[in-house]
């Protein structure tokens, strides 16, 4: 991105792009090279703040990272890394071509670099649009549809067919109230088996003015809780097959954690500041055939939870004892456990403020994406100048400096990829 551009009156036989206040081409190139290196130092500092945020939240709240990394697709990340490395190679090659005055090779390399960069942005677009659709976003917009599921990604389509929008939770033991269960009323064993509840569920038609039609159809059977079958089916392998062939009859209901579902019970401060309260759980009806259901209302009458299940070994190991250090009671920060435990934990509802991981993810990859975009424009401008044949063995500065900028952008992605995608 340096600006050693061109000026009409050069120094005699040298390339016309050697500016007059430089002694010669070497002086201009050395100044430009030193300038771009300072610019790269500034870029490192520009990204350093985001690395600080990343390190801080990983050290203090590792549980968010081990939970939320399931939403990042390692396949896409790996392809992007390969694409960027290849474009870095072609950029370096373009410099060589310019130095040796091989004009066609120069143009080919520049074109490939631009193509790869655009490829990188396309893959980025796919990832982002997927997350936006799934509401796996930062801050207030973090509202993923989460429920116990099998191996594949917990996307909205396969695991939460019931349309979230139109389903209005109706629950409560004795007096029927709008809204959802209080955490205390349910055996909320978030770590293990999801939510247990004993309710009669009814689907009631609702016309467009929101008035309920009489005579709702009861939903008798409860969807089998895949998670329970996984765990009780001894090794993980058999558990999955078990779930597949005993396909539940649709529609079936099951309790699920649905953070954004109960706006009216959250306090105004919570509402305009964060996703709904974790402790609010509701009833989700699954229709199994993937299209959204409009104009229906789910009414559920549930009995209070039975005595809480005895904690088994895995859950007990999760109970974090509060250590007393001198007069300070410190609840130990999440000690990073094995990958397998993460997998089970990541099936339950998300830990508090999981949106922070997505904030950091979007900030880092977003800022990096902007730098890739800027790189594309710079290379297009260089391509135009290369086609016009302005680069000669004694004037190839812009190519070299743009390549250096591109290598730094690649360097930052080389660190972003393992830090964000390969979390254990």
């Amino acid at each position: 991105m340096s600006d050693a551009g061109h000026d009409d009156h050069g120094h005699g036989d040298q390339s016309p792009f050697i500016q007059h206040h430089y002694d010669d081409a070497q002086h201009q190139f050395d100044s430009g090279k030193f300038g771009i290196w300072i610019f790269l130092a500034q870029e490192v500092l520009f990204f350093s703040a985001l690395f600080v945020a990343y390190v801080l939240y990983r050290v203090h709240h590792g549980e968010i990272y081990s939970y939320a990394h399931k939403w990042l697709d390692v396949k896409y990340g790996a392809i992007n890394t390969a694409v960027l490395i290849f474009s870095s190679l072609t950029a370096a090659w373009a410099v060589r071509a310019a130095q040796k005055n091989q004009k066609t090779l120069l143009i080919a390399c520049l074109a490939t670099t631009i193509a790869c960069a655009c490829g990188f942005l396309c893959i980025k677009y796919i990832e982002y649009s997927h997350k936006i659709h799934e509401h796996i976003l930062f801050g207030r917009y973090f509202d993923p549809c989460v429920s116990p599921g099998g191996e594949e990604l917990l996307t909205r389509k396969n695991m939460c067919p019931g349309s979230k929008g139109s389903v209005i939770w109706d629950a409560g033991s004795d007096k029927p109230t709008e809204g959802c269960f209080e955490a205390s009323k349910l055996d909320l064993d978030t770590k293990l088996a999801g939510v247990q509840a004993d309710c009669e569920v009814q689907i009631v038609k609702v016309d467009e003015k929101g008035k309920e039609q009489p005579g709702g159809t009861p939903v008798t059977n409860q969807c089998p809780d895949e998670l329970l079958t996984i765990l009780n089916g001894s090794e993980a392998g058999t558990g999955k097959e078990l779930v597949k062939e005993a396909a539940p009859k649709f529609p079936c209901w099951r309790p699920a954690y649905q953070p954004q579902v109960c706006p009216d019970l959250t306090t105004p401060e919570q509402r305009n500041h964060g996703a709904g309260m974790k402790s609010q759980v509701g009833i989700l009806v699954e229709f199994g055939d993937h299209e959204e259901r409009e104009g229906i209302k789910i009414k559920a009458k549930c009995k209070d939870a039975s005595a809480p299940k005895p904690m088994d070994a895995l859950a007990l190991s999760h109970e974090k004892p509060t250590e007393h250090v001198g007069e300070r009671a410190i609840k130990p920060v999440h000690h990073i456990s094995t990958h397998e435990e993460h997998e089970i934990e990541s099936l339950g509802p998300p830990p508090e403020h999981t949106s922070m991981f997505l904030t950091i993810y979007f900030a880092m990859t977003g800022l990096h994406g902007v730098h890739v975009l800027v790189g594309i424009f710079v290379f297009i401008w260089l391509l135009i100048r290369a086609v016009k044949g302005q680069f000669t063995p004694d004037y190839f500065g812009p190519i070299d400096f743009a390549a250096l900028y591109w290598h730094i952008v690649d360097l930052i992605w080389i660190f972003l990829f393992p830090l964000l995608y390969l979390i254990h």
Partner: protein, 574 residues
């Protein structure tokens, strides 16, 4: 002003103004020649006018602020307007005046000539930095019609996330100003490295250039963190990403770490160019070489590096842990040492000199006194137990005004008067200059000395309404503020007036020994008509005053052309 030293009459006939080609002011006409200029001197002058205007704007907010504090409760405005006064005063002064002040305005004009270079390394980047500064300034000033800004120049969250004032306009303005500062720093680093003439090694560089070098390092390595912080704050406000918002898991103390990691080097970006200028003023007007050149040069550099270690002392009581408080308090004291060394060296330079009390020297001497008070009161705030009582009180306000205004702005005015004849070709009115220098000194001390006492007595900062026991101090401070304001306004007036009424300036009115005094007054487009001769640094024996405010080098006299002046320094090229 008879001088004992005899000098050949031919010295009097040496040309002062440019001979072979027109000077840079008249080489081309029309606003386009200024708007799209690549000449570092014109860009520097455009910066200078912008900065002087911002100084008057920021100063007027200060006067409104002080008038409101004349009496407890409402004097002229309500609390919300007062909050906007002190915020805009802080933001305009810090981002528009003090940070670009000496490096961008005077640095752009003088540094390349002092280096003997035709121009800065990247002229177009230099112009781009200026327009970044202009657009940033416009955005910052645009906050006023869009609802003002009432978060304090520090923009602390979560208040800056919730207030309904134009925070986003301000943060975008600061973002652009940050990049203007980065690119200026980058430009100067490359220029100092790659454009030194033959025979000017690192230890033949004037101390002003050492200071600008140290400043450029900080500008390049610290300002990007301000860029990312301000960008995150803007995104946080409109997209609620939650990184600084405690209700969504964010951490306000994390914002303070991000902010002060930049802002402490920023306060050194403000003071170190001032120190560089002071070394030039003291040495030239005392006709004595700087005492301990290497120590002063190394202390500029060490200050630049140490400034990255101490940002935590702004956060002793803001929720920072005790361990971090201890570490930052210890490191803060290491930063005090280089400044002390500099002050001792300047005082030692005055010994056995021939001190001429021109306006520049008056500002230089008042810098010495005011910077000493500023530095010493920093000791109070560095000690943890004393800082618990003094933090966020008027003691801190007085301390940083002594360092920012009392030192940097006084050095800026000294530098302005010192180099004004060189780049405008006009002399300013000396008597008016001296009275205003004394006016600034008296006004400044009347304004801020009472604030030390008020702060120690527990008067918190940014208070619209205060207990009546502080009224007496506020009244004295307001009177001082008006004296200061008037003096500064007169300075700007007579400097502008000097364009028309000023006497023609000589090539070397003050007898300076560095390269810029060999350039014609005002310099040509590429600064020198004939390549400058690098003389021994800060050596004034060769200079003699041929007429009032006109010095010549004996070796320049035609008779002595034979004797080649001793060109010191190794042949090392960059």
């Amino acid at each position: 002003m008879a001088t004992t030293e005899a000098f050949p009459e031919s010295l009097k006939s040496l040309p002062q103004a440019p001979v072979t080609e027109p000077d840079f002011l008249h080489v081309s006409k029309g606003w386009k020649s200024w708007a799209f200029t690549l000449d570092h001197k014109r860009i520097g002058m455009m910066y200078l006018f912008g900065i002087l205007f911002s100084l008057l704007l920021g100063g007027s907010f200060a006067l409104l602020l002080r008038t409101e504090l004349w009496s407890p409760g409402r004097t002229i405005v309500g609390p919300d307007t007062y909050n906007q006064f002190f915020t805009l005063h802080g933001a305009v002064m810090v981002f528009l005046v003090i940070i670009p002040g000496i490096p961008a305005a005077l640095g752009n004009i003088i540094m390349p000539i002092q280096l003997g270079a035709p121009d800065v390394a990247f002229p177009r980047l230099n112009l781009a930095s200026f327009y970044l500064w202009v657009s940033g300034a416009i955005l910052l000033v645009l906050t006023i019609p869009f609802g003002g800004l009432d978060t304090g120049w520090t923009l602390y969250t979560p208040y800056s996330l919730e207030t309904h004032t134009a925070v986003m306009v301000a943060t975008m303005g600061v973002f652009l100003l940050g990049f203007s500062s980065i690119f200026t720093g980058l430009n100067f680093l490359v220029t100092i490295h790659k454009f030194r003439p033959q025979g000017m090694g690192w230890f033949q560089l004037p101390l002003n250039i050492w200071a600008i070098y140290g400043t450029a390092i900080m500008q390049v390595l610290a300002t990007p963190v301000l860029g990312i912080t301000v960008l995150l704050l803007t995104v946080e406000r409109f997209a609620h990403i939650g990184i600084f918002d405690p209700t969504m898991g964010g951490d306000p103390v994390l914002f303070q770490h991000f902010f002060w990691f930049y802002s402490h080097p920023a306060v050194y970006i403000m003071i170190i160019p001032g120190m560089g200028v002071i070394s030039e003023l003291i040495s030239t007007y005392a006709r004595k070489p700087i005492f301990g050149y290497r120590f002063v040069a190394y202390s500029s550099l060490s200050l630049a590096l140490l400034s990255f270690l101490v940002w935590g002392h702004h956060m002793f009581v803001s929720g920072q842990s005790r361990l971090a408080n201890m570490v930052f308090s210890a490191l803060t004291f290491t930063v005090g040492i280089p400044s002390a060394i500099k002050v001792f060296n300047w005082v030692a330079t005055l010994y056995k000199g021939d001190i001429r009390l021109k306006t520049g020297m008056l500002y230089g001497l008042s810098f010495l006194l005011l910077f000493t008070i500023g530095g010493l009161t920093g000791l109070f705030l560095g000690i943890l137990s004393v800082d618990v009582h003094l933090h966020d009180t008027y003691f801190v306000v007085a301390h940083f005004h002594y360092v920012m205004m009392g030192s940097t702005l006084v050095a800026f005015l000294g530098a302005l008067h010192h180099w004004w004849p060189k780049f405008t070709g006009r002399m300013y009115n000396e008597s008016l200059g001296r009275t205003c220098a004394i006016g600034v000194f008296i006004g400044f001390n009347t304004t801020f000395l009472p604030q030390f006492v008020m702060g120690a007595r527990g008067m918190p900062r940014r208070y619209w309404d205060y207990d009546p026991q502080y009224q007496i101090f506020h009244q004295i401070s307001t009177i001082g503020a008006f004296i200061l304001g008037i003096s500064l306004f007169i300075v700007v007036c007579y400097l502008m007036a000097s364009f028309w009424t000023g006497a023609k300036a000589a090539r070397n009115p003050w007898g300076g020994s560095s390269l810029e005094w060999q350039a014609p007054t005002p310099p040509t487009l590429y600064n020198f008509e004939k390549p400058p001769i690098v003389h021994e640094l800060y050596n004034y024996d060769d200079l003699v005053e041929v007429a009032p405010d006109r010095w010549e080098r004996l070796s320049d006299a035609p008779e002595y052309q034979g004797a080649v002046p001793v060109a010191s320094g190794s042949k090392e090229h960059h």
